[in-house]
Amino acid sequence: MNIHPFPSPVDTPTGTRASRGLGIVVFLSMVLLTLLGLVLTDEDVVQGSTVRLMYIHVPAAWVAYLAFIVTAIASAMYMWGKQHSLTFDRIAGASAEVGVIFMGLSLVTGSLWGRLTWGTYWQWDPRLTTTAFLFVTYVGYLAVRDLGGSHQQRAKRSGVVALLAVLEIPLVHFSVVLWRSLHQKASVLQPNGNVTMDGLMLFTLLFGVAVFTLLFVWMVLHRQRVLTLADAIDDGGLEAALQERRNEAN
């Protein structure tokens, strides 16, 4: 029997018919979003073309928060599931990776927007500061995943750190709110329900949120499958080394 110990990308692709279909939908929607954001929508009365940054910034921030919620839920499902299934751990890891990328993107686009609108790249207001803390906390979470040891060990450690982050972040936010507050109030969801944005602009913003959410699902699906293969290589690598030693002995 000549079974290769390592799963190769050719034998085990990370794409399925469904995820490829999703990928195509995401790509086409992205093209449409770009058109909407850059060409079809008007400039804002006050902000001018700066408002176009919002079509990336808001969806990116949304996806980042969504990703960290998914990480927390998947970690909890790993910790309290009877099977301690590594699939949940890998979903948590994949989601956190994607979340960190989008959080970085939202920080960059946010500070560019801030520079043009507020005249400064950074404001020490609670939402911004908490976001920066989230970013650092999940970079730390990814570092914990990278500590080595068995897969179960990685899953347990990072699961605990992910759940601790859920405890830490509200505390950080609360203490920074007490520290100071400057941020512009949310402009779309106002308490009285009056939407103050132009129809097409609002549509573009919400469409962006939807497209980025699909992109998130697509990225996590693939990343989670890649992580499964990486774990399999880890396991297979040990098997292969053992087999090699046995062959030497014969």
Partner: protein, 232 residues
């Protein structure tokens, strides 16, 4: 049940006494880490180079120096354990991990308190801040409560670093964001104690309440998580 709880407390007491005795005899903290904290205070003065500014930001500088020192203290407190795999031995012996966590935390609280006393005294001398008796009472309360939060998180993430051998570099990345709320609250309360920036003594006490909440939450979280994080 009764047996369990007494053994957890006795484990905690044994670990804390042992840690403090090691520090008392080896004098590593006093001879090496405390001078480091002192140098940091002097360097702050070099970097800011203005008596007025120094006085204004003294509370923040004291707590930053405490945070930096706490990283070294936490690493030291777990280096003692991982040098001869003592953590593994403790686990194999079936000792309650909650007891270990509490013991480590208590020892850290005491060590941090020593540092805070010295750093506050240094700030009185070097940065010319003034401290009334009322301010001193506030400051002692702040230090004790802030230390509970710092020590709980320090023991937790320090334990994680020690369990994953050779990865202690991870500690600052995990610990500093987690204890940022403690830094904010402790600094604000200390501003009241030092009466800088127009702060009054009464404004400091609400922050003390906040520090108590942080300390309780962090200790609770640490008690639950320590066993899992240090598992082999």
């Amino acid at each position: 049940m009764t047996h369990n709880s007494t053994s957890t407390i006795s484990v905690a007491r044994a670990i804390a006494t042992k840690d403090l005795r090691i520090e008392w005899r080896s004098k590593v903290l006093v001879n090496q880490v405390l001078p480091f904290a002192g140098i940091v205070m002097v360097l702050f003065a070099f970097a800011l180079d203005n008596d007025g500014i120094l006085q204004r930001v003294a509370p923040g500088l004291v707590w930053l120096a405490v945070l930096f020192s706490s990283l070294i203290i936490v690493q030291r407190t777990f280096a003692i354990e991982s040098a001869d795999n003592a953590l593994d031995a403790i686990k194999v012996a079936g000792v309650s991990s909650v007891g270990v966590f509490l013991g480590k935390s208590v020892a850290l609280v005491v060590q941090l308190l020593l540092f805070e006393c010295v750093l506050v005294l240094l700030s009185l001398v070097l940065y010319q801040v003034h401290l009334s008796w009322g301010g001193a009472v506030l400051l002692v309360t702040v230090s004790l409560l802030a230390n509970v939060g710092l020590a709980a998180m320090g023991a937790l993430y320090g334990g994680l670093g020690a369990a994953a051998k050779g990865r202690e570099t991870l500690l600052p990345l995990l610990l500093l964001p987690a204890v940022a709320p403690v830094l904010i609250a402790a600094t604000r309360a200390t501003e009241s104690a030092f009466r800088v920036g127009g702060a009054t003594l009464g404004e400091g006490w609400p922050w003390v309440a906040l520090l108590a909440v942080f300390g309780a939450l962090f200790s609770f979280g640490g008690t639950l998580a320590f066993g899992v994080l240090t598992e082999e």
